[in-house]
């Protein structure tokens, strides 16, 4: 089976000119996405990343999130995403727990937490415009071959647990969803769910592996902003948890102004109350 980065390379070769990621004025084609991944890989290599090491991704949904995740995977690294709203204590706990070798984060988060992160045991921190290296105790602890991500559960039922996902896991999941929804390169979706959640991660992977377009909306929780983005970018699908649907139906004119390009809806992460489903 192909690894995630090999599968993405195939998509880039097939549809280089298709739009892959839209975020405000930024519009990356698949070709551009491949170049951004290559740039991130060069920076990660310079920072000392080796195959089998774990890299923390502490970013909100963004084009940078996508290129960073794919860059780490392409170098044989393991991505450990942390919710962008997580407190520094949780980030430090995760770094220790997974023996994180480095972190990719925003300049704002770095500015507030530089001291804590610098002393956390990581070897590097990569920001959009710069990178930092730190002294790290040498160790040869490498992840098992084929491991791609460690996703943490929310902790509702106790301490959050790290779920190990292999490249094969991600590819099989993406292929199953892709087949079920008949996704094609002409599909487009506004990313409503955080990529750090398995559902959001799956939405990202399935659309990338279809050669489809992912739109990053700055305010996905505001139905009016979401609908404007969906209209502007001719979204073909919507994926959300029950509260996203409640918001879409209560806080907007969604029903009266249906978006003609929409062809599929998916819901997961919890039960959809019947009255909401009926609406």
């Amino acid at each position: 089976m192909l690894s995630v980065d090999e599968a993405i390379k195939q998509v880039v070769a097939k549809w280089p000119g298709n739009l892959a990621v839209v975020e405000g004025d930024l519009r990356w084609t698949y070709d551009q996405l491949a170049r951004e991944i290559a740039t991130q890989q060069e920076r990660l290599r310079d920072a000392g990343l080796e195959a089998g090491q774990r890299v923390i991704l502490w970013l909100k949904n963004s084009a940078l999130y996508i290129s960073s995740q794919l860059a780490v995977l392409g170098l044989g690294g393991v991505v450990v995403p942390i919710h962008p709203d997580a407190l520094i204590e949780e980030v430090l706990r995760t770094i220790t727990h997974v023996d994180g070798a480095g972190i990719v984060t925003s300049s704002a988060k770095w500015k507030t937490n530089a001291q804590a992160l610098g002393g956390s045991g990581i070897a590097f921190a990569m920001l959009p415009e710069s990178s930092m290296r730190f002294r790290r105790e040498e160790n040869d602890r490498r992840a098992p071959e084929g491991l791609a991500q460690i996703l943490f559960t929310s902790g509702t039922t106790g301490t959050p647990k790290g779920i190990m996902l292999s490249h094969d896991n991600l590819i099989v999941n993406a292929e199953a969803v892709l087949k079920c929804l008949s996704l094609t390169p002409s599909d487009a979706i506004v990313a409503v769910l955080p990529f750090v959640f398995s559902y959001g991660n799956s939405v990202m992977m399935t659309h990338l592996l279809s050669g489809a377009k992912i739109i990053i909306e700055e305010y996905p929780l505001y139905a009016q902003c979401l609908i404007e983005s969906m209209k502007k970018e001719s979204a073909t699908g919507f994926s959300g948890v029950a509260s996203n649907y409640a918001l879409l139906l209560k806080g907007s004119c969604f029903r009266s102004e249906m978006i003609p390009s929409l062809r599929y809806f998916t819901s997961a992460g919890g039960p959809m109350p019947l009255p909401l489903l009926t609406k």
Binding site: S243, N244, A246, L247, K250, G251, S252
Partner: protein, 89 residues
């Protein structure tokens, strides 16, 4: 005497999204989304509260970040809404 709208809004946010613990960290200009204080359910709760407490009808197209994403923005939005209501009477 009624509390100024800003205080009422702050109290609601502190009680519902900060579990009653403000400790003076939340400024009137802080983005509720960027601070991670509000999610999709929280926005609906906030709108419901503003409607019932201030006796206003908030239209769907008014539920946007420029009206609701900070204490300052909410206060300004309420002032505009109330001004509109008075003008219509």
């Amino acid at each position: 005497m009624a509390l100024p709208a800003e205080n009422v809004i702050r109290q609601f946010i502190v009680d519902n999204f900060l579990f009653g613990q403000d400790e003076g960290h939340l400024s009137t200009r802080d983005s509720l989304l960027e601070k991670g204080l509000i999610d999709s359910t929280g926005i609906l709760e906030l709108v419901g509260f503003l409607q019932s407490h201030f006796g206003l009808k908030i239209e769907d197209e008014e539920i946007v970040p420029s009206n609701l994403d900070s204490i300052e923005k909410i206060t300004r939005f309420l002032e505009t809404k109330r001004g509109d209501i008075v003008a219509q009477r």
